[in-house]
Assembly symmetry: C2
C-alpha cells in the first residue's frame, strides 16, 4: 500500500536545520556579491534543448536531463526541453536576448540549482546549487581581479582562512604544450592526464602521458615546467600569444594584491579546468582538506557570440554551495545560533478558551517574537513537555484563574523560573528580553 | 548562426529589478511564517514519477513534466522522473520518510518553483513559485485558524487591505449536494458547473447544471442555498456529518476573530477548490481586482497515509507568488527603494594606477558600501557618464594630482557637488552619509 518515500536518486530533502545552514551561506554570498555591485538574475529551470546541447562537450551532453514533449507527442519519446546544466549558458542566452536592456558592463550574480545526471557520490549530487558571478562586456584584467576578490571575501566571511585561488590561462596552457612539442591534436588527451597530477603524482602522469602518445621528452619537460616558473616562462614566451597571456596573468596577480585576495592567489601552470568554452584566464578555489575545488571559473569571450552572433567578452566564477557546506560541516564552521528553536514562546491552550490563546499569541508576534500555539487542549503537563522537546524558551499559561486576575503565567523552560505578569505587559516583557534571568 | 535566445514557452527570465521585487515579497512571506513558528523545508525539483502520479486527478496528471531515463534507456523514451507539480505531495512524502526526525506537530513553510505544462496565459506560467505553509499532526481547528491568520498577516504586510478569505468544508459541500438531491455520481460534474458562478452567473450555472443531468429543482435549490446561509444550514444539518462540519467551520470562524484575519474570513458555501485530496475545511484568498485567487488551501487528512500507510492529519495553504506580483505591480505597491542602483559609489580608474583604485574600492566595501569599479581606463568623462546612466550617486577620482596630495575627489552625481577629501577619510565620510548634502 505505502509508496516509496525516499527522494529520487542523487536528490536530497532539506529539513529545517539543513535549510537554515544553506540559507546562512547563501546570505553571506549574496551580501558580498552585492557589495561588489553584482546584481541578481534568475533564469528558468527548463531551457529549450538546443540552448544547452553543444556547449558542454560530449561528456556534458550525456549528463543533461531531457524532458518529454507534452500532449500528443508524449508517446513518441521526443524531447524538447532540458534542465539547466549550469548558470553560464543560460546567462549567455539572457545577455543575447536582453542586450538592449542591460548595462554595457553587466555584472550579475545567480544562485540557483542545476541538474546533472552524474553518478552520485560523496559530495556529488544530481541536483546542486551553484553561486555564480559573471561580468559581461569588458576584457580588462580588472574584471578577473574583482571577481577573485569577491570570491575571496565570500570565503573569508564564511570563516575560511586557508583557501587558495589557483590562476592560469588557456592560452598559456596551449603555449606550454606547443612549446614542449605536444602536437595540438594530442593536447586534449594530454590535459586529461595532467588533470590527474594530484591523484597519481608526477611519475603516474608521465607514464600516462606517454601511454597517450606523448613523447617521453615532452612529458618530462611539461612536468618540469609545472614545478619551475622560470622554465615555464621561458617556454611560453616563445609561443604565439604566450607573452601577452603571461602579462595578462601578471596584471591580474598584481591587481589581486590590492584586494581581499591578497596572498591567496598563485599562478598554477597545470590548472586546466574542464569546460570547453574558456578562452583566457582560468581560476579555481580550493582548501587543503577537500579533494577537488570549492569552485572555479574563467574568461569565456566566445560563448555569448554563439547566441548573439556578436562577440562580447565575459568572465565568471562559480562557487559550489554543496562543496562549501561539506567543508563547513566537517570543520564545524556554522554559527551556534543557526540551530535555533522554531519558536521563542509557546502559548498553551485550554478547552473553551482557545480564542484568548490565539489573541495572546498574535500580540506576542506583533511584538516581534516567534510564537507557536499548542494546537490541542491536552493536559498542561503534556503541552509543557512538547515545548521543552522543541527547545522553546518561554511557555505562557492563561487559565481561568489567571484570566480572572488579568494575569498570565510565564515559565522559562531553560531556568525553570516561573513568573506571573499582568496580561497587558506580557508582550512588552517577553519582547524586551524579560523573564530571562 | 545565432541561436534562439528567448526562454522556453511559458518560462521567464528575471532581470535584476524582477528578482528584487520577487525577493521583497518572498522576504515578507518568510518573515511572517517564521513568526508563526513555521520552519523551512526544501525538496528536490525532480521526484520519482510514481510519487506524483495519481495525486492530482486526471487533468493534473497530463500537466506533469516527465523526464527521460538516462543512459542506455534514453532511446526507449521511457521516463522515470517528473518535475514537482506542487509542494504538498512532496511534503507528504517527506513526512512519511522522516516522521521519526520531525516533531509531533510539524509546521513547515516552503517557497519553491513548481512546473505545470499548462497552456500559458496572462498570469499563468509553466514555471511558477508557490509559498506554502502546512501543519502536520493535528486535526484541531486551531490549525486552520493559525494558517488563515498567517496568510492574512502576509497579505496585510504586503499592503493588501481588501482581501477576503473564503472558507468552506468538503463535507459541507457534499452534504449540500446530497441534501438538494444531486446523486453522488453527479456531484463531481455539478461542482465543475458551480465553479463557474463568478464567470457565467446564476442563470448560466443553473442551465449548465441541468445540461449536466441535474434536476432543475435541485439546481435551483443549490443556488438558493449559496445565497442564503439559513437555507444552507438547514439543508446540511440534515445530512450525515453535516452538523459536525458546520460546527468545525463555526469554530474556525470564531478563532479567526482573535487573529489578524479578523473581518476578512467569510463562509462561502459555493467554494469547491479543484484538488482531489482535500477532506475538510477548504479556503481561498482573493482580492476584487483579480479574477481567480491569490492562493488557497485546505485540510487533507488522507494524503500522507498514501505514503506512510498511517493516517496523519494535515492542513495547508499555498500563496501564489506570481498572482501576488501581478496585483502588486498593477497597484504599484512596491516600496520605492527596491529599484535601487547596483552601486552607491563608482571608483574611476587611470591607466597604470588601477591597483590604487581597487584598494580604494575595497576600503569602501569594507565600510559597508556597495561599490563598483569602472573596468577600463577610458576618458574620465566616459566613466562619469556610465556612472550616471547606472544611477550611481558618488564617483571617486584619484588621479596623479590627487594622489600626490593624498586626496580623493568625490562627486555627488545627484547634486553635482564635488569635494576633495583626505584619502584616509573617504571611506568614513561616504559610509557615514557625508558629501550627500
Amino acid at each position: 500500500m505505502a509508496q516509496q518515500t525516499r527522494p529520487a536518486r542523487g536528490m536530497r530533502d532539506f529539513l529545517p536545520d539543513d535549510v537554515r545552514r544553506r540559507g546562512f551561506v547563501i546570505g553571506v554570498v549574496e551580501e558580498v556579491y552585492r557589495r561588489y555591485a553584482f546584481e541578481p538574475l534568475e533564469t528558468p529551470a527548463l531551457e529549450n534543448i538546443e540552448t544547452l546541447t553543444g556547449k558542454y562537450g560530449e561528456e556534458g551532453n550525456k549528463l543533461i536531463f531531457k524532458v518529454l514533449r507534452r500532449g500528443e507527442h508524449e508517446a513518441s519519446g521526443e524531447t524538447d526541453l532540458a534542465l539547466r546544466y549550469d548558470l553560464t549558458v543560460p546567462l549567455a542566452r539572457v545577455v543575447a536576448e536582453h542586450r538592449g536592456r542591460l548595462p554595457k558592463f553587466f555584472k550579475r550574480y545567480q544562485i540557483q540549482p542545476v541538474w546533472r545526471a552524474d553518478r552520485p557520490a560523496r559530495g556529488r549530487f544530481r541536483e546542486f546549487y551553484q553561486c555564480d558571478v559573471d561580468a559581461i562586456g569588458s576584457a580588462s584584467p580588472v574584471v578577473e581581479a574583482e571577481m577573485i576578490a569577491a570570491v575571496s571575501e565570500v570565503l573569508q566571511r564564511l570563516g575560511f582562512a586557508d583557501f587558495t585561488i589557483q590562476l592560469n590561462h588557456r592560452v598559456l596552457l596551449g603555449a606550454l604544450l606547443n612549446g614542449v612539442g605536444i602536437a595540438p591534436a594530442l593536447q586534449p588527451t594530454a590535459l586529461v592526464a595532467i588533470d590527474k597530477l594530484d591523484k597519481i603524482g608526477r611519475d603516474g602522469v608521465r607514464d600516462d602521458l606517454v601511454a597517450r602518445g606523448v613523447a617521453t621528452d615532452s612529458a618530462v619537460q611539461v612536468l618540469e615546467a609545472f614545478d619551475d616558473l622560470d622554465t615555464f616562462d621561458r617556454i611560453v614566451a616563445q609561443e604565439e600569444g604566450g607573452a601577452a597571456a603571461r602579462q595578462n596573468v601578471a596584471q591580474i596577480l598584481a591587481l589581486c594584491e590590492a584586494t581581499p585576495a591578497r596572498g591567496h592567489v598563485v599562478l598554477t601552470p597545470r590548472l586546466a579546468r574542464g569546460l570547453s568554452y574558456y578562452t583566457g584566464a582560468i581560476m579555481e578555489a580550493s582548501v587543503p582538506d577537500l579533494a577537488g575545488s570549492l569552485g572555479g571559473g574563467g574568461r569565456y569571450d566566445g560563448l555569448i557570440g554563439m547566441f548573439s552572433g556578436e562577440q562580447i567578452p565575459a568572465c565568471g566564477f562559480s562557487l559550489g554551495l554543496e562543496r562549501i557546506l561539506v567543508v563547513m560541516t566537517e570543520r564545524n564552521m556554522f554559527p551556534g545560533d543557526l540551530a535555533t528553536a522554531a519558536a521563542e514562546v509557546m502559548v498553551t491552550v485550554f478547552d473553551g478558551e482557545v480564542e484568548e490563546s490565539l489573541r495572546l499569541a498574535n500580540e506576542l508576534r506583533a511584538a516581534g517574537l516567534r510564537v507557536d500555539v499548542y494546537p490541542e487542549p491536552d493536559k498542561l503537563g503534556k503541552q509543557f513537555k512538547y515545548a521543552a522537546s522543541r527547545g522553546v524558551r518561554f511557555v505562557t499559561v492563561e487559565g481561568g484563574d489567571e484570566r480572572a486576575r488579568g494575569e498570565v503565567t510565564v515559565k522559562n523552560l531553560l531556568t525553570g523560573e516561573q513568573r506571573t505578569i499582568a496580561r497587558e505587559a506580557v508582550a512588552r516583557t517577553l519582547a524586551g528580553g524579560g523573564t530571562s534571568a
